[in-house]
Symmetry: C2
Subunit: 263 residues, 2 copies
């Protein structure tokens, strides 16, 4: 028996009741209208968490669209994390929970992209020759030199983040590139021009500000902040840019929403 069919008093399968029709003359695509309707149905409890949605073929017929269009509508909800597709079984409404959350760093990107209001101050630039973990990460020998650069990046004249970076000191590359590694990290921090990096790994951690860091960021010593560690690889797969950003959670809020929010 079709699980999504509704039975009349006499037990005969009735057609799927459609909450709202598609306006094909609208500029809004049919799949988007359909996704809105389905989302609304979920929101109103018609399809509670765990429930199975009608089959895509049934939805297509009910809304008078092709199967591909109905599929696209369901895909919208799937990408929103609202439903889960199981091949051969059906499409199910996801349960809302903490684990579904996802935190993006658009806020950071937005600020770093607002270059007109950014000020970058280099507070340290040195060649380090003593061993350290950064050399392991960059695949260097303990005695090979690395360039360490520390920058305070301010936004609208307020300190926003402290960036510590380690890059390999490659005597064969042009001096302008290696000396203060401005080119490499311009590509990392600002998303302009051609990036030199093929891929990167990031780790987000909580951290405390020591006295010096706190002074540079004009925050209290011992304040909890985000530490965003990064390791970027160039197109030769060599680890190239290791370092981290220290940034207050108030200046970079990490927010996430789960479930249905559009009403």
């Amino acid at each position: 028996m079709k699980a999504d069919s509704k039975k009349g008093p006499n037990g005969v399968s009735a057609p799927l009741v459609v909450a709202k029709a598609i306006d094909k003359s609208s500029r809004m695509p049919a799949y988007a209208q359909m996704a809105d309707i389905l989302r609304s149905s979920i929101s109103q409890g018609e399809y509670p968490p765990g429930a199975r949605l009608p089959a895509e073929s049934a939805l297509a017929k009910a809304y008078g669209v092709s199967a591909m269009t109905a599929r696209q509508a369901v895909s919208v909800l799937e990408e929103e994390g609202l439903v889960r597709r199981v091949q051969g079984s059906g499409t199910y409404v996801r349960k809302v929970g903490v684990a579904a959350s996802n935190f993006g760093l658009e806020a950071l990107g937005g600020i770093l992209a607002d270059r007109d209001n950014l000020q970058v101050r280099i507070v340290k630039a040195a060649v380090k020759k003593t061993p350290g973990v950064e050399k392991e990460v960059l695949g260097l020998k303990p005695n090979e030199p690395v360039i360490v650069v520390e920058r305070v990046i301010s936004h609208r004249n307020e300190p926003f983040t402290l960036h510590i970076s380690y890059t390999s000191f490659d005597p064969t590359s042009p001096t302008v590139e290696s000396m203060l590694d401005t080119v490499v990290l311009t590509g990392l921090i600002f998303q302009e021009g051609y990036s030199k990096f093929k891929r990167g790994a990031l780790r987000l951690m909580p951290a405390l500000l020591d006295a010096r860091e706190a002074g540079l960021l004009k925050l209290p010593e011992g304040a909890p902040v985000f530490k965003l560690e990064h390791l970027f690889y160039d197109f030769d797969n060599r680890p190239t840019a290791f370092g981290w950003f220290l940034v207050s959670h108030e200046k970079m809020p990490l927010l996430s929403k789960v479930g249905v929010w559009d009403e």
Copy 2:
């Protein structure tokens, strides 16, 4: 002139050179094979960051598939964050940078789902009648009571997280549900059965452990940890479950990868 065409010595447009052909007898879908090929091309620098990919129609012709299939292949790369589609213009390779990163809480979900190895110990359960921010968040009057419950959730007998929760004290709901709010938070913490929540908002922050918290989690006092704040709404749109998890970043690493990693 087609921007993606390559010119021969005599200046005549040559067909797009295909790196590898699609094996239509393979069990791997054509779009997935095509996505792999394109990803590999990007990885090897054939399409550097900022470059425009060949038009979807050109790709379809070059690989001998329909336009919809080529489109699906490009969609894979788009969902991976590798390319950006611009209507009317083209599809461009994204530059790799810190802002592209995205942190999911699958690690948290994985541990909370492993119920056989979980122990939950309630370390506090009380009805609070004095005012507090939690009442504003839950939309209660300052004198309305809330239930506060604190739990230590251990995994394999090691403290994993401390959960503080505030829920409204609703005398009309069944006692079993409201008393220790076990049902509500069973749905929140464990993703089993039918969820009572329609949606939730979450905020991730860095925090320090005070002496009591540190003792409960067997961590040093003052250690930096993640604070994952949550506010969940029921299907009547009432804020219902406010609280937060304190969890060590070592037990819940937040990792993210950007760019091309599959080689």
